[in-house]
């Protein structure tokens, strides 16, 4: 008797959340995106506007770019919204998506403690700053998670002529976590760290961290969006997903992105019109 009652209760509990029910009830898509779009607060601002207009709920999984693309590869997301052009082009060439749309950009900033142990203050040359960090053995936090920011960081070391795989030592700590966690770690250990500007501006635990290097054109950070190929993954909601992409690159969506500011400072610059981006 009791067991039967418990079984019925369990079934009721589960049926409350059955997938069929949620599909019948609402139009929703899953977007695999990066920690930077979430930690910067962009989605919190942008998605309610999109949902109000279209009635489509967007479920965001915030991961590093590499992991977000893998989520798309397994067919667990309808749309991927990431920031590492080389990795996105790889995704396209595998046929995982048919088209990549540039959406917006911002830039990376090198964050460091105000005490500036590597003496990089004032420079806008990222390569010189990285060389100085290595020469002084100043602590540096690496995302180490195949995210867009991690990929960009590795590229910057390479452009500075440093083989970081070979040179890294106790001063270089690869933590394998998201942008916010990396900033927290840098804050707690007075270390340097590469961050996207959006996450940095929205970050609440800055304490004695500050921007060390910014404005180098090598620190450009482009975001792109892609629909996961429905021919490879039949469960992909291609119409709803495409509707989201079309809105992001539309005049209206681009304006919403450009309007997102913290303390009057924009976090992202829309550039869907730049087909080369």
């Amino acid at each position: 008797m009791i067991i039967r009652r418990i079984l019925i209760a369990t079934a009721l509990c589960l049926s409350l959340f059955s997938p069929q029910r949620s599909i019948a009830q609402d139009k929703s898509i899953v977007v695999a995106s990066t920690t930077s779009t979430q930690d910067s607060g962009l989605f919190e601002y942008l998605l309610p506007i999109f949902t109000k207009k279209t009635g489509i709920t967007v479920k965001v999984i915030a991961q590093g770019t590499g992991q977000a693309l893998d989520t798309g590869r397994r067919g667990d997301a309808d749309v991927v919204f990431v920031h590492a052009k080389s990795a996105e082009e790889q995704f396209l060439s595998e046929g995982q998506s048919l088209k990549r749309y540039p959406v917006m950009y911002n830039d990376f900033v090198l964050i460091g403690p105000k005490s500036d142990p590597a003496k990089i203050g004032g420079t806008s040359d990222i390569a010189a700053a990285l060389k100085s960090i290595m020469a002084k053995g100043a602590p540096f936090i690496s995302r180490g998670d195949r995210s867009g920011t991690h990929i960009a960081e590795l590229m910057l070391w390479k452009q500075a002529g440093i083989d970081i795989e070979k040179e890294k030592n106790a001063w270089y700590k690869s933590i394998g976590q998201g942008m916010g966690a990396a900033l927290n770690t840098a804050q707690a250990s007075s270390a340097y760290v590469l961050s996207d500007r959006g996450t940095w501006l929205n970050f609440k635990n800055k304490n004695d961290l500050q921007i060390g290097v910014q404005g180098d054109k090598r620190m450009f950070n482009q975001y792109g969006v892609m629909l996961v190929n429905p021919d490879k993954h039949p469960n992909v909601k291609k119409d709803l997903g495409q509707q989201f992409i079309d809105w992001l690159v539309s005049v209206e969506g681009q304006k919403v992105i450009g309007d997102y500011k913290i303390n009057g400072e924009p976090l992202f610059y829309p550039n869907a019109n730049d087909s080369g981006a």
């Binding site: 067991i3 418990i6 079984l7 209760a9 369990t10 509990c13 589960l14 409350l16 959340f17 059955s18 997938p19 949620s22 599909i23 899953v30 920690t35 979430q38 930690d39 607060g41 989605f43 919190e44 709920t57 479920k59 965001v60 999984i61 915030a62 397994r74 067919g75 667990d76 976590q177 998201g178 942008m179 916010g180 966690a181 900033l183 927290n184 804050q187 929205n202 970050f203 609440k204 635990n205 800055k206 993954h233 469960n235």
Partner: protein
């Protein structure tokens, strides 16, 4: 959620987003415990009352499974439920049900192992009586579960503690989606990563308060129950 709210404001003001997160957390944890009870208590009773070859090993295995690493369970359930996995067609990944499944796997061994111990200890007491009164096996299990119910509640509370505090498994299989699969623990992880430490601490206080409240409720129910049951 208003990320500028201080911890105190957040705890005092009833924020609808926070309420939804708390309800989802409770829903997931309690469902997992319910499933664990349905599977774990009969399983524990069965192992307690039967004698079979390899029983010692089964008990060691069951006890060891209490220490299942949540992140490994999360990964296994993730691979199972992924669209490219064997159960991908269910479309259950990144849903609350996926989180319930992962937590039920974590909690069931705890309930089963503790139930086995409780029921086995009781049986030692009742064995002669059962033999004298010629009680059948089904009735024996029923009597032992019923008479051990107050200790079994403690086993369920241990399971609830595990599931309510857990973040490693549900963040993998749930995806921490705002308004859909975001629970207390994953929200705390997120706010910490945003550097919003006061809000993270506030959420932590709320979570601990809820766990204390549930345990207080169970204690009160047990005390009342014992009084009337004599």
């Amino acid at each position: 959620m208003n990320t500028d709210a201080s911890a105190l404001q957040l705890v005092l003001a009833v924020d609808p987003t926070l309420v939804a997160i708390v309800l989802l957390s409770l829903m997931v944890s309690l469902s997992a415990v319910l499933i664990a009870a349905v599977i774990g208590i009969p399983l524990g009773a069965l192992i307690a009352l039967t004698r079979f070859p390899g029983r010692g090993m089964a008990i060691v295995a069951l006890n060891a499974l209490m220490g299942l690493p949540p992140v490994v369970v999360g990964l296994a359930v993730f691979l199972l439920l992924s669209r490219s996995g064997p159960l991908g067609s269910l479309g259950m990944l990144f849903t609350p049900q996926a989180m319930i499944v992962a937590q039920a796997i974590l909690v069931t061994p705890i309930v089963a192992a503790l139930a086995r111990q409780t029921i086995e200890d009781l049986w030692e007491e009742y064995r002669d009586e059962f033999a004298a009164m010629n009680v059948g096996p089904v009735q024996r299990i029923g009597t032992l579960i019923w008479d051990g119910r107050f200790s079994l509640v403690t086993a369920l509370l241990a399971g609830f503690g595990r599931s309510a505090a857990e973040v490693g498994a549900i963040i993998i299989v749930g995806g921490n989606i705002d308004g859909f699969t975001r629970t207390m623990t994953t929200a705390i992880a997120l706010e910490t990563s945003k550097g919003n430490l006061p809000l993270a601490v506030g959420l932590g206080i709320v979570l601990i308060a809820i766990i204390i409240a549930i345990n207080a409720l169970a204690w009160w129910a047990r005390r009342t129950g014992e009084r009337y049951a004599g």
